[in-house]
Structures are given as structure tokens and as C-alpha cells.
Amino acid sequence: MSASDLLDAYQALARRAWDTNRARSVELSAVLAEWQQSGTLADDQRERARVVAHSLRGSAGTFGHAEAAESAGELQELLSAEGAPSIDVVASLVGRIETALEQDPVLEL
């Protein structure tokens, strides 16, 4: 396999990961919307969002969405910390992830 073939394979995987990560972003938005509606972030929802943010951090960063990965990392750390997170900060991070994932991935090998 040539370097060009490897890049083609990487780009194909990155497109698939991009779809997966946009679905993860939608899942984060759903948790946020439920929180905004109910006024409470339930423990299971918080854990769900933390796991999704973790997956997004690793995948988005590996597949060319560095800004999304950075925001997902901040979100993961916020949700892993003691105490209640700020809904405004979470909303800001979720918004940044959404925006970042609208851009084409930057793929370099």
C-alpha cells in the first residue's frame, strides 16, 4: 500500500468518524435541552454526557477536528469534576462543538 492509499483509507475513516461525532454532538444537545427544560441535570444524564464527551474528544482529535476535541475535553473535565456544572458553560461548550463539527476536518499524514 502506498502513502496515497494510506491517506485515502484515513480520509474514508475520517468521514465515517465525522458522521459518528456529529451524532454524538446531537446527543449532547439533547441532554442539554432536557436539562434546560427540566431545570435539573440528572446523574444518569450527566454520566451519559461525560461518556459522549470523552468519545468525542478522542475521535474528533484523531480525525481532524481539533477544536471540537478541545471543547469536548473541557466538557468531559467539567462533568467529571465535583459539584454542579454551570448550564451556561455547558451550553457554550456544546455550541462550540457543534460549530467546529460543521467545518471540514483537517487531515494531515
Partner: protein, 128 residues
Amino acid sequence: MPPLPGAEPRLLLLVDDDDDIRAVAAAALELVSGFRTVTASNGLDAVKQARQHHPDGIILDVMMPGMDGLQTVEILKSHSETAGIPVVMLTARVDGDEPPGTVAGVISKPFDPMRLGDEVSRIFGWTT
């Protein structure tokens, strides 16, 4: 690190629940660094694969549903047939999370696919 001419490439067991991460890591380890790979998507399968294939090293994601990476390491290290296999943890970890002392090292996610094999070789101390 490419193997010496005539030598069988080292076998790595790659464990991650993310299909895309698993695919790109396996491709990079094989195509860029010349390793052979087997893969598992969860801790239970990882233990089975380790006992079946006896890989030269294991790359193990920390956060996985069901049996996570830390629990998987405990089981691998408690069985004589897998206890000696070196393990490197692969994780988008949060500051303050420390890997167990039984693992050889940690590779952070996100990772550069082109450098993954070199990083694995460095951590395991493989020069050939």
C-alpha cells in the same frame, strides 16, 4: 519500528470500543510500522484474544462500556498466561487519573496515527 528482514512482525492486541479509532490505529500500526494486529472492542473480548493469541503487547483503551480498561488490566495481570504481556493504556484521560503501576505507559488520545507505532515501541522498549 519495522521488523528485521526474515523476522516475524510483532503482534499487537488493540482494544478500543470506538470502531473508527480501532480501524485507524490498526491500519497505522500495520501499514506504517509493520506490526501485525488483532483487535477487540471490549474488555471481555480482550482477555479472550490475549489468551488465544498471546500478543507481544496490548494497547488498551481505558474508558469502555462494561469491563473498562482498568478492570481488564487487573484480569490480564492476574492470569499467569497473560500477566507477562506488556500493556499500554490509550486514553483521553482527565488530569488526575493515574494508570495502574502494572502498565508500561500511557498514550493520550487524540493521537497521531503516523507516530503511534513509534510511540508503542518506545514505551515497550522495542528497538527491533
